[in-house]
């Protein structure tokens, strides 16, 4: 619609039509009230102008009117609040079986890593119709991952993972913008999201990675950095057994319980003293400064892939089996 004078970007994600629908409702209601005020002012200014209406009628006010024009806008607002919140709630809950793409933002480029180990710079290849969860962090300052066609945006922070998700519904190539000012080439930190038919996507994927999957890279790092020394897969380790830990609650030594999400794993690597697991000593050294953002993501992907002890791989994640007798 409106090819020569577009008013909104292409709708390429599952909820783009909801966002646009809410937007157009807001436009309609706003236009109504704006025109109403403009019309009333114009009408009163003309009808009651000095030359034809020299004596003003003093009217103090009217409680019923005040209540009306307080409560009606309040009611209308609540509709917008509810609808907007519903959309936001959906955006905050990625489905469990979404495919995951890791993104590292840095001044001034986007680096993407797929579970299969492929890497992309400033281009994001996605299959149409599948849920995609982005797990992102920044190497330096705050950036923001913005795809107008999908109607999503999420800031990318240093020191923390942030996530967002979407389901592309239309093949094509769409703008990717950095939407949080980040320095000199902020406006150059743009890229493309390329949504492909499943067959084309498979073909692209198999062109893939020479270095193995993200999780297997993580496994190598786990060995190289000496993590496996303490984090054994039995009860003998000086550190907790990490099999199946992801997504489960963890009890800490000060009585708190936290859920082991991506940020917990990240913090445990970079600042282990902040949350010490109950029953263990605070002896884990920090790896701050020794692991890059990409390494962190690989390690996190690896830990996520670890099945429950006794081989109970519950959620279909690739159970990169640590090997029955793999001790170090």
């Amino acid at each position: 619609m409106w090819k020569n004078f577009p008013l909104f970007p292409e709708r390429a994600s599952a909820w783009a039509w909801q966002v646009d629908g809410l937007y157009f409702l807001l436009v309609a209601v706003s236009a109504f009230f704006t025109l109403l005020i403009f019309a009333l002012i114009f009408f009163f200014a003309v009808k009651y102008r000095r030359s034809v209406h020299p004596h003003a009628v003093q009217i103090e006010g009217s409680l019923p009117l005040e209540l009306t024009w307080t409560l009606i806008p309040l009611g209308i607002s609540m509709v917008f609040f509810a609808w907007g919140s519903l959309i936001y709630f959906q955006q905050a809950r990625p489905p469990k079986d979404a495919m995951e793409v890791y993104a590292v933002a840095k001044q001034w480029m986007w680096k993407f890593e797929y579970e299969g180990g492929q890497r992309d710079i400033n281009e994001l290849h996605l299959p149409v119709g599948r849920d995609v969860k982005m797990i992102m962090s920044s190497q330096d300052v705050i950036h923001s991952f913005y795809v107008p066609a999908f109607r999503i945006k999420a800031d990318v922070l240093p020191g923390r993972f942030t996530t967002t998700w979407f389901r592309p519904t239309k093949t094509g190539t769409y703008h990717l913008f950095c939407a949080e000012y980040c320095g000199t080439e902020h406006s150059g930190m743009i890229g493309q999201v390329i949504v492909m038919e499943p067959a084309a996507y498979q073909a692209w994927m198999s062109g893939g990675s020479s270095t193995g999957t993200l999780a297997s890279n993580g496994q190598q790092l786990f060995q190289q950095l000496g993590c496996s020394t303490c984090h054994r897969f039995d009860t003998q380790g000086r550190g907790p057994n990490l099999a199946g830990v992801f997504g489960k609650p963890v009890m800490l030594d000060d009585g708190r319980t936290v859920v082991a999400d991506e940020n917990y794993l990240r913090e445990s690597i970079l600042n282990p003293g902040a949350k010490v697991v109950s029953g263990f000593k605070p002896i884990m050294p920090t790896f701050q400064g020794q692991v890059s953002e990409e390494n962190l993501m690989a390690l996190v992907a690896y830990v996520k892939s670890l099945a429950q002890p006794q081989g109970k791989g519950t959620d279909g994640n690739e159970a990169a089996a640590p090997g029955a007798s793999n001790t170090q």
Binding site: F44, A45, S62, T70, G159
Partner: protein
Amino acid sequence: MATAVQTVERENYLNANYGIKSWLLTTDHKRIAMLYLISITAMFWIGGFFAMMIRLELLTPAGDLVSSDTYNKLFTMHGIVMVFFFLIPSVPAVLGNFLIPLMVGAKDLAFPRVNLLSWYLYMAGGITALTAMVTGGVDTGWTFYTPFSTTYSNTHVIGAAVGIFIAGFSSILTGLNFIITIHRMRAPGMTWRRLPLFCWSNYAAALIMVLGTPVIAITLLLVAFERAFHIGVFNPQLGGDPLLFQHLFWFYSHPAVYIMILPGMGVISEIVTCFSRKRVFGYEFVALASIAIAVLGFLVWAHHMFVAGISVYAALVFSLLSYLVAIPSAVKVFNWTATMYKGSIRYNTPMLYAFGFIGLFTVGGLTGVFLASLGIDVHVTDTYFVVAHFHYVMVGGMVMAYMAGLHFWWPKMTGRMYPEGWAKLSALLVFVGFNTTFFPQFILGYMGSPRRYHAYPPEFQVLNVLSTAGSSILAVGYVLPMIYFLWSLRYGEPAPPNPWNAVGLEWMTSSPPPTHNFDETPVVTWEAYDYENQPQEEVTIGH
């Protein structure tokens, strides 16, 4: 036909003393207001120059007029100058300082020497910030987000932050002065319910100034400390939280926008009532709405952070509260409109600006409602939609109110009338130029055009060109008043005490007023805006 010019000029605050010392060491609130008028006008043109450079660059999709770093400095400095050195002080420091003592029937503000100190702090802060800008610039955005501002930027962040810090104390002291003046210096008979709404609005704004500004002061101080001494509370590598900065920053900077708009709304109340010759409809509701805006304004700051990484539940709370804060503003718009019903409307320039304000503030305010809606905000935050929204409320709203107030009280402040024909033309140019500049930006924003972009994809060019074209019309609309206001100081018709036949204590003394404001302390026995009993003589000047 020339009006008879008095051969002996009455003594007033302008001619009571001569010489630069009598101005730089004055404690007369009216002279201090004039000092502010000069410095604030200078700041407006500096900020406007930066704006012009931005719009020129954005004529073409490529970044070809200035370098990326220069562009980043331009939008940062435009924001800092306009927000901290123009919008926040403008109506309070110029019109508030001049009028509040007059409107309450006092001889001066509660603390005249503190008032002068406020101006010196403003100048010191302004010069510090401008020095930082001239000797290399700042490129962090007026929002100073960390860790870019603390660790990665190579520009004069400390200078700019310190300049804003100093100017913040100017704002705090002005607010303090206003609150205490309105509480303690009212003339006999001037009860709270007889106060002009301009006083109510400035009182509400002053509450925010006093409570909110110290928070940004400490926040920017911490940024400066981090850059200077490596006291790293915002550095993620040390465990600092960049979101903490955002919370602290917006805790002030959101209420700050109400500091900007509330005094403007006060001006509009005064003008609508005078040029409709009617008491403002629902006086108590308008007064209380000002207080409600001030209170609720402190509870919504994280709506600037919906995509920043806050929790879903926090976002819900702030979204809900953001809807609530819009309601008192809507109430005011309806009340002003209802004031015109069965009034007797005159089309003098102040009233034309008031019409513009009501319409454009409505658009700006309603687009704020778009942003309060979480699902929409995710798409349009950090795009030109937000830029358009805040320019509608700040320029279409606040600057128009400032212009309205300058025109309305110009005769009182200077003793001269401005030329009405030219003034009406300027108002029209401002209205047309403004809408042409900023309405296309709503569309750009929804299309996905991000803000703070030096270069943009080619499909956004048409709307950008339209926007720049509008800005040139807008600029003319602002240049003309500069010229004719200056012209009027020498050649404008001398003004009588009450050229508009308005109701209010400030109109019951001469134009310009004597230094001590009133020859005798007024005793107030009438209700606010008692137009019923105000004679409706023909206005002979400036029809």
